[in-house]
Structure formats: structure tokens, C-alpha cells
């Protein structure tokens, strides 16, 4: 290691001359996950660079949610690697043989960087909308409460819920709850957003308002992984798509191309079924 000293200079020089390399936000490598004897993920890899909006598609039970939940370790993968914002999440084996994240501080960091929006919103029912939004910034990140409130109000304004900030989740419609949940996810300054079928629990007339918010997030260049059955969103908003079938990636590529020219029969059938 004689050349350690000039390296940073070289790197800086390269950055000025060469086109910027994409910044990798999420990398999943050869992920395996079983529930009991059923192998749900059979070696999945996935990469998301800064600004990518990746639609994760597939029929029910193909492992979409499991994959997404492995990225922020709501499920712990049996094997394979997960790298979030350049940080490889270390695992250790507990005495009973189960694998768990080795470092709680790292887990918290990773979960703060990759915020999740759930199908069933999962707002905390005993807190107002504003309290839901400031909970993680104030208590997990320990930022000053006053700043968090200001920021939360701006976020709620953005998702069209400024007037509802002192209401409890129970009195909001599904669409409003999901928009509040998106504001909550944004409040901890995540670098990646994870969505697990964010519109599947909504009445059809409420889907649009949530998709509109998601589209605006995509347009401002956020990195997003979106499990969805909304083909319109996958086709026109997402930059890349990943089609899962029985725990494997069956087809992937730039969304526009994939939808225009599906390469596999299964994906072709999948879009045809979705359209009919």
C-alpha cells in the first residue's frame, strides 16, 4: 500500500474529467429467504442507483414483499448481501442459529436511510398526524423538536394534509392516511423510499391522489423501490422494472422497453392479464 497518499487526489481529478459515475443506493446480491421449508426468494439480485425508480412486479406470492422487507431487515435474509447507501449490513448468527443484524446502531442507520411505506399505512393510532410525522426525527434521530415540526408541516402541506395535522389517523380516509404515511417516511430524510403496494388497500377513487404524490417524488429524482400492481405507474413512472416469478427474477430492464417488448412469455401474460 505505497500509493495510498496520492489516491484521493487522483480520484478528485477523475471526477472532474470523467462523466459522473452513478451513485449506488441499494445493492442486493444473491438473496435467499425461506419460511419454514418453503423457499420464497431463490437468489435475487437487484441494484438501484441514485434517482432510479424500480417497480417490482409479479403475481401474488412471488416474493415481492419479502424482497422489499429484506432490504430494511423487517425480514432477515437467510443468505446473500444487502448494501444500503454503500453500507454493507453485517449479520451474525444467534445461539439458536437464526441470523440477525450484528450491529443495532447500523440497523437503525440503514432503516433511517431507507424509509418504508406500507400497504396498510400503519400509522400509529394514538398519535395525531403531525405527531406521527415527527416521531422518528425527534426520537430516533434526536433532532430538535421545533425544526422537526416546521419540516413536518411543510411535508404535510406538500401531500395536501396541512389542515389535517392535528387529527388522529382513524378519522382520515385511506388515501389521506397513505399520504400521511408518505410524509412520515420522508420526515427522516431517507435516501431511498420503499413502497409495498401503497395503493392496494385503497378504494379505486383514492388511488390517484397517492399515485400523484409518488409521481412527484419520482420526478424530483428520489430513489424508490415500489412493489405495485399499478401497471400505469410501472410503465410510465418507474425507470426500471423487475418481474419476479416464484422467487426468481424472471425479467428485468428499463420499464419502457420491457413493457413495449416483453422478452419472456410469463411477463407478456402478466401484462396482458393486468390490462384485461
Amino acid at each position: 500500500m505505497t500509493a495510498t497518499h496520492p489516491l484521493p487526489l487522483q480520484a478528485a481529478a477523475r471526477q472532474r474529467t470523467e462523466p459522473q459515475r452513478p451513485v449506488e443506493k441499494i445493492a442486493v446480491l444473491d438473496l435467499h429467504k425461506s419460511f419454514g421449508s418453503i423457499e420464497v426468494l431463490k437468489g435475487i439480485s437487484l441494484k438501484a442507483n441514485q434517482g432510479d425508480v424500480i417497480a417490482i412486479l409479479g403475481s401474488s406470492g412471488s416474493g415481492k414483499s419479502t424482497l422489499l422487507r429484506c432490504v430494511n431487515f423487517l425480514e432477515t435474509p437467510d443468505s446473500g448481501d444487502v448494501v444500503v447507501c454503500g453500507e454493507h449490513v453485517r449479520m451474525r448468527r444467534r445461539r439458536d442459529g437464526r441470523r440477525v443484524p450484528a450491529d443495532p446502531a447500523q440497523l437503525t442507520r440503514v432503516r433511517t436511510r431507507a424509509s418504508m411505506v406500507f400497504q396498510s399505512f400503519n400509522l400509529w393510532p394514538h398519535m395525531t398526524i403531525l405527531e406521527n410525522v415527527i416521531e422518528a426525527p425527534v426520537h430516533v434521530q434526536r433532532r430538535p423538536r421545533k425544526d422537526c415540526i416546521e419540516e413536518a408541516e411543510a411535508l404535510l402541506d406538500r401531500v395536501g394534509l396541512a389542515a389535517k395535522r392535528h387529527e388522529y389517523p382513524a378519522v382520515l380516509s385511506g388515501g389521506q392516511q397513505q399520504r400521511a404515511a408518505i410524509a412520515r417516511a420522508l420526515a427522516s430524510h431517507p435516501e431511498v423510499l420503499l413502497f409495498d403496494e401503497p395503493t392496494s388497500a385503497l378504494d379505486p377513487e383514492l388511488v390517484g391522489e397517492v399515485l400523484k404524490v409518488m409521481r412527484s417524488l419520482a420526478e424530483e429524482g428520489r430513489t424508490m423501490l415500489v412493489v405495485t400492481h399499478e401497471m400505469g405507474f410501472a410503465r410510465h413512472v418507474s425507470t426500471r422494472s423487475l418481474f419476479l416469478h416464484q422467487g426468481r427474477v424472471e425479467e428485468e430492464g428499463p420499464s419502457a422497453e420491457m413493457f413495449a417488448h416483453p422478452r419472456t412469455d410469463r411477463f407478456r401474460q402478466f401484462i396482458q392479464r393486468a390490462q384485461s
Binding site: N72, R111, F118, W124, S188
Partner: protein, 243 residues
């Protein structure tokens, strides 16, 4: 009707109310803390913790409070030398401490089941959202699980509070002069059991009435309700006397 006798009786018996309240408060607070520990042991998923908690609840819920009280007060008296050696005798010699201890241990068993029910009722999604935003287990417990569990458990806990308030009357059997103890003493002097017990009953009735109202008020204050800015007055349910 001897109104002046009733009035005098009521006034005398009210002299026992502070001790009744004191016994209720101390045993419920102490028992509540114990209940929380027991409930967390039960829901920990570790046999080493949940087993003892389960056994404790089995024993203390399955035997009469009166026997538990006698066990502590009279039973431990048999071990006086040992307790003296440990410096605990002054504690177990005092009927007040014995009553608080026995009642706290008893209510801890019941209340732990109530809290456990509350913990079980916490929606899994709320837990998952807490984990997903980076909360560690202890913070999740403090910020999400317990607030939700306590809200859910509050009505049942109110019943337990009323039961304990009435159960303090058992302390009279180990010489404590709370409301029932005073009533017993007066009856021994006057033989007018009907009037005196009626007065004592009235005092307990009013006590439990105010306790149930207080719990309702707390329930209302903690319930997720419409805009916090303009609170609506509480609608007080008329509930029957808890079993």
C-alpha cells in the same frame, strides 16, 4: 330512624377513609409496577421468563386474597427469627405493610393478565412501522407498545382498581382500622350492625363511583379523538357496578 346516630357513624367511619385510600393507592401502584414486569415476562417469548410469570399468576389468581393476606401476616410470623436476622421483621410485623404487600402481589397477578391482553392487541402494523423507522426494542416499547396497550387495557384496569378499593376491607381482619375495621369496632360497642354497615357500604359506593368516573375521564383524555384543539366534553357512560 336515628339520624343523629347515622351522622355520627358516618363521620367516624370517614375517619378510616384515608387509610382505605392509602391502601388502595399503594397496592395498586405497587401491583401495577409488578404487573408490568410480569406482563413483559409473559410476552418476552423466553421460557425462562414466561414460565415463572405464568406460575405466579396461576398461584395468586387461584387462591383467595384473604388467605394470601393471612399467609403474609400470620404465616411469616412463624419465621420470625430468620426474618429478624435478615432485618425484615419490623416490616412483616406491621399489618399495614403486610396488607399492602399481599394486595399488591394479588393485583399484580390480575393486572398482568389485563396488560398482557393490551399488549396482544397492539396492531402488528404499528409495531412494524416502529421497527421500520429505526426504533430499537426499548424505545418501541415505550413509545408505541405501552401507550397502545394501556389505552386498550384501561377499562379492564378500572374494574381491577374498583375491586382493589373494595378488597381493602379485608385488611380489617389483620387489625387495620380502615373503614370496615372502624365499622367492626363500632358494632362491637353498639350492636347496631345494620346502620353501621349501611354507612360503611355507602362510603365504598361513593368511593367506587368516583374511581370509575376518574378512569372514564382518563380513558377519554387518552383516546384518539377529533381535533385536539377544541376538546368536546366527555360523554360519561353509565356503567353497572363491576362484578
Amino acid at each position: 330512624m336515628d339520624l343523629s346516630f347515622l351522622q355520627a357513624t358516618l363521620l367516624t367511619l370517614l375517619g378510616g377513609l384515608p387509610l382505605t385510600l392509602n391502601l388502595t393507592a399503594c397496592s395498586v401502584l405497587l401491583g401495577g409496577a409488578g404487573a408490568l414486569v410480569l406482563a413483559l415476562m409473559r410476552t418476552s417469548g423466553l421460557v425462562l421468563l414466561s414460565g415463572p410469570a405464568r406460575a405466579y399468576v396461576f398461584v395468586f389468581r387461584g387462591t383467595p386474597l384473604l388467605i394470601q393476606l393471612f399467609m403474609v401476616y400470620y404465616g411469616l410470623g412463624q419465621f420470625r427469627p430468620a426474618l429478624q436476622e435478615l432485618g425484615l421483621w419490623s416490616f412483616f410485623r406491621d399489618p399495614y405493610y403486610c396488607a399492602v404487600l399481599a394486595m399488591a402481589m394479588n393485583t399484580a397477578a390480575y393486572a398482568s393478565e389485563i396488560i398482557r391482553g393490551g399488549v396482544a392487541s397492539v396492531p402488528p402494523g404499528a409495531l412494524e412501522a416502529a421497527s421500520a423507522c429505526g426504533m430499537r426494542p426499548l424505545m418501541r416499547l415505550r413509545r408505541i407498545v405501552l401507550p397502545l396497550a394501556i389505552r386498550q387495557a384501561l377499562p379492564a384496569y378500572g374494574n381491577e382498581l374498583v375491586l382493589m378499593a373494595k378488597a381493602t376491607s379485608l385488611a380489617s381482619t389483620i387489625t387495620l382500622m380502615e373503614v370496615t375495621g372502624l365499622a367492626g369496632k363500632m358494632i362491637a360497642q353498639t350492636y347496631r350492625a345494620v346502620e353501621i354497615f349501611a354507612c360503611a357500604g355507602l362510603i365504598y359506593l361513593l368511593l367506587t363511583f368516583f374511581l370509575t368516573r376518574a378512569v372514564l375521564l382518563l380513558e377519554w383524555r387518552l383516546s384518539p379523538r377529533r381535533p385536539r384543539r377544541q376538546p368536546a366534553p366527555p360523554t360519561i357512560r353509565i356503567t353497572g357496578e363491576p362484578a
